[in-house]
């Protein structure tokens, strides 16, 4: 599986390189754009926390291209893709904008995105990300940042329960044992061993499915993997945590979000990604946090996901938009983002600045990306079966229905959704 992934990644990279070369002869996608280019372009993104960093990037970009005026449009994530859909329908998309994995193929397959030019060299980014942002052999997104999953833990809670800290090579059983022991010993205080996000798969169940040797979606994106024995095993692991009280129930996690349990010392561990870093750095438990890799199931695995900057096909100032995308995909922009603590940059070798922002070992995330990361599962209309996941899986995790039954229903629904694509 892993080898196949690598091969696919390499093929994609090569294809993207070729595409980049050929587009040199086309209209303005070349690496050497005219630096006196005069234009006004828009840049849309959703994270207001990253706005200062994005503005710093624009300022630096203007040193190279003084006559391109970049206007930012910040829309909260809840409305971001609703707005983009409307803009996409009326061909008024922003010139350059943030894209995420679940939505990418929808835009690429509808011909709304411009493939990256030769200014973006896929060799500079993790292969899984190039693959995530490629469609029909062409790469459309310049990877911006990435996140993998690890286990943050609070040493103070471990000490209080008298449980040994996790080790780097721990297994599912060891993880479960520790979680259970903490829940049992600190029951009077209402403390749980682990509390992680169960709505959406990225934080927990995509990982456990992959660790059990299953898959969420077939590699050609046509078939659901939920009904395989291995996938069911991955889901069952999550159910077991809830069943014996190692973790709060989905209802409890809906009432009080996972990060709140952890930050308020009501849980000892949380499975989460690089994005939690900034919040933890500002939290009251900052001094007692440590980070461990995900425990091993049948094998070690994590999903990797990242954002990309894309250019709209219908951009009226495409040359300027491409120049900006190229800048954002470059090394300097990656370093700026990392230093400002905005995100873990995707550009190879620039993560050091990000790793230095925290006292815990952020290298674990980088190592996960390099050694055992699997691309985030997507298809053309990811939103449709993401809804099915959210509709059905809570019943499995809460124990309302057997995991295997739910998994089979989910696979059926997901296959129906995939057939419509």
């Amino acid at each position: 599986m892993r080898k196949a992934l690598l091969a696919a990644g390499a093929a994609v990279a090569a294809a993207a390189l070729l595409a980049g070369c050929s587009s040199n002869t086309g209209s303005g996608s070349g690496a050497t754009a005219d630096h006196n280019l005069s234009a006004s372009i828009s840049y849309a993104f959703w994270d207001v926390n990253q706005k200062p960093a994005m503005e710093a990037l624009i300022k630096d970009f203007n040193k190279e291209y003084p006559n391109i005026k970049v206007t930012t449009q910040v829309t909260p994530y809840q409305n971001y893709f609703t707005k983009l859909q409307t803009q996409g329908s009326s061909k008024t998309l922003p010139d350059v904008f943030w894209m995420n994995g679940p939505n990418f193929q929808l835009y690429a397959s509808n011909g709304l995105l411009e493939p990256v030019g030769s200014g973006i060299d896929p060799a500079n980014y993790p292969k899984a990300l190039n693959e995530l942002y490629s469609y029909d052999g062409k790469q459309y997104g310049a990877p911006k940042d990435f996140d993998t999953i690890g286990v943050f833990y609070n040493k103070a809670v471990f000490d209080k329960a008298g449980v040994a800290y996790p080790t780097a090579d721990w297994t599912w059983d060891e993880f479960h044992q520790k979680a259970k022991e903490i829940s049992d010993k600190l029951k009077a205080d209402g403390v749980y061993g682990v509390a992680s996000g169960l709505s959406g798969g990225q934080e927990v169940y995509y990982n456990t499915i992959l660790q059990a040797g299953g898959e969420i979606i077939s590699s050609d994106g046509k078939k659901s993997g939920y009904d395989s024995a291995a996938s069911i095993k991955g889901l069952q692991f999550v159910r077991d945590l809830v069943a014996d009280g190692s973790s709060p129930t989905p209802s409890q996690l809906s009432d009080t979000p996972q990060d709140q349990w952890f930050i308020n010392s009501k849980s000892a561990m949380i499975w989460s990604g690089t994005w939690l870093n900034a919040e933890l750095l500002a939290s009251p438990i900052k001094d007692t946090i440590a980070l461990a890799p995900l425990p091993k199931g049948e094998k070690q695995a994590t999903v990797i996901h990242g954002l990309a900057n894309v250019v709209a096909k219908d951009s009226k100032n495409k040359a300027a938009a491409v120049a900006f995308q190229n800048y954002l995909g470059g090394k300097q922009a990656a370093e700026t983002q990392a230093e400002m603590g905005a995100a873990n940059p995707a550009f190879n070798g620039t993560q050091d600045a990000f790793v230095k922002t925290a006292p815990w070992d952020l290298n674990i995330f980088e190592k996960a990306a390099a050694d055992y990361a699997y691309p985030y599962p997507i298809s053309k209309n990811t939103a449709a079966w993401n809804k099915a996941e959210n509709d059905l899986l809570p019943d499995a995790f809460s124990g309302k229905r057997p995991v295997a039954d739910v998994a089979k229903d989910l696979a059926k629904q997901m296959n129906a959704d995939l057939a419509k694509e």
Partner: protein, 318 residues
């Protein structure tokens, strides 16, 4: 408006004697009046046409199409309606919406009682009470929901803490089937109380005080006065409030969305019809969403007609 038309009428009258026998002239005056009326109504009518009627027509059309994320609607006949009628979550959303409306309707008798208490002559702090009850109605539902989320929290909320003092382990109100609907219904009832109170208080001010004086001379108790004078004379206001309540109840979305969120494990068993509309729109299933929209329109129409039919039996117009 009638004031500005008056001079025209006067002019018509002065010229009338000369042409009394010619009706066409008279019709032209009518037309002129009609034109003026139309002119004044036009801006509003334009707004209603563009922002209400036209979207409804478009929505009706789209409900017969398969409409992808980025437009490109293709005619698909009744397939959306067939899918909708076969979808258990559609029927559940109707039940949920009706239960929610039930909660709001229970709030109306409460509002009548509160309004009559607040309208007692010589009540101290009357303005304070009125403000306190009306505040939730003018506050943003999202902000109100934020506070209630904390109150309803299963592990750390005030309600469950209070229950735990008497040895009851409270549920996760906002994320358990049925309990979530009760919680949303209670908050909805609490919000709507303010609006109902204002309307009903205004209605009560219109009841002549002599009625109360006369009845108390006849020895009627306060209770008797409430049921024999206040309620019947208030019935037009109560009718208005209940029609409005049913219509706003059908529109339940923002409160539910803000209280529960999209990732809630109980949202499927609690979603309202409008929520179902948005959920399908979010996943690029716009044709289906349009069909749900038509179902909402139909149900609101039916319930409003029923209410207007039934009013003859209980509403007293003086």
């Amino acid at each position: 408006m009638s004031v500005s038309i008056a001079p025209q009428e006067a002019g018509a009258v002065t010229t009338a004697p000369a042409t009394r026998s010619t009706p066409p002239r008279r019709r032209r005056t009518d037309r002129k009046e009609w034109l003026w009326a139309a002119l004044f109504v036009a801006p509003l009518l334009f707004g209603v046409l563009v922002f209400y009627i036209w979207p409804i027509i478009r929505n009706a059309y789209f409900s017969f199409t398969t409409w992808g994320v980025f437009g490109g609607a293709t005619w698909s006949g009744l397939s959306n309606y067939q899918a909708m009628l076969a979808d258990p979550s559609f029927w559940r959303s109707i039940v949920n919406t009706l239960v929610y409306i039930g909660f709001l309707l229970i709030g109306i008798p409460l509002a009548v009682v509160f309004a009559s208490l607040m309208n007692r002559p010589g009540l101290r702090f009357a303005t304070l009470y009125r403000t306190a009850f009306f505040l939730p109605y003018v506050a943003m539902p999202a902000a109100v929901a934020m506070v209630w989320r904390i109150i309803f929290n299963g592990d750390f909320g005030v309600i469950n803490y209070t229950l735990s003092l008497v040895g009851i382990k409270g549920p996760n109100w906002l994320s358990t089937e049925w309990f979530a609907l009760i919680a949303v219904g209670l908050v909805g009832m609490w919000i709507s109380l303010g609006f109902n109170l204002i309307v009903l208080s205004a209605g009560m001010k219109g009841i002549p005080p002599e009625m109360y004086e006369a009845s108390s001379l006849d020895g009627a108790s306060r209770m008797r006065q409430f049921f024999s004078i206040t309620v019947p004379l208030l019935s037009p206001s109560i009718f208005f409030v209940s029609v409005m309540t049913v219509i706003t109840g059908f529109q339940l979305f923002d409160l539910l969305y803000a209280l529960m969120g999209t990732q809630n494990p109980a949202i499927n068993q609690t979603q309202s019809m409008v929520y179902l509309f948005f959920a399908h729109q979010q996943t690029g299933d716009n044709g289906y969403a349009a069909a749900v929209g038509m179902a909402i329109l139909l149900l609101v129409g039916v319930f409003t007609i029923i209410q207007f039919r039934m009013q003859k039996r209980w509403v007293t117009y003086v």
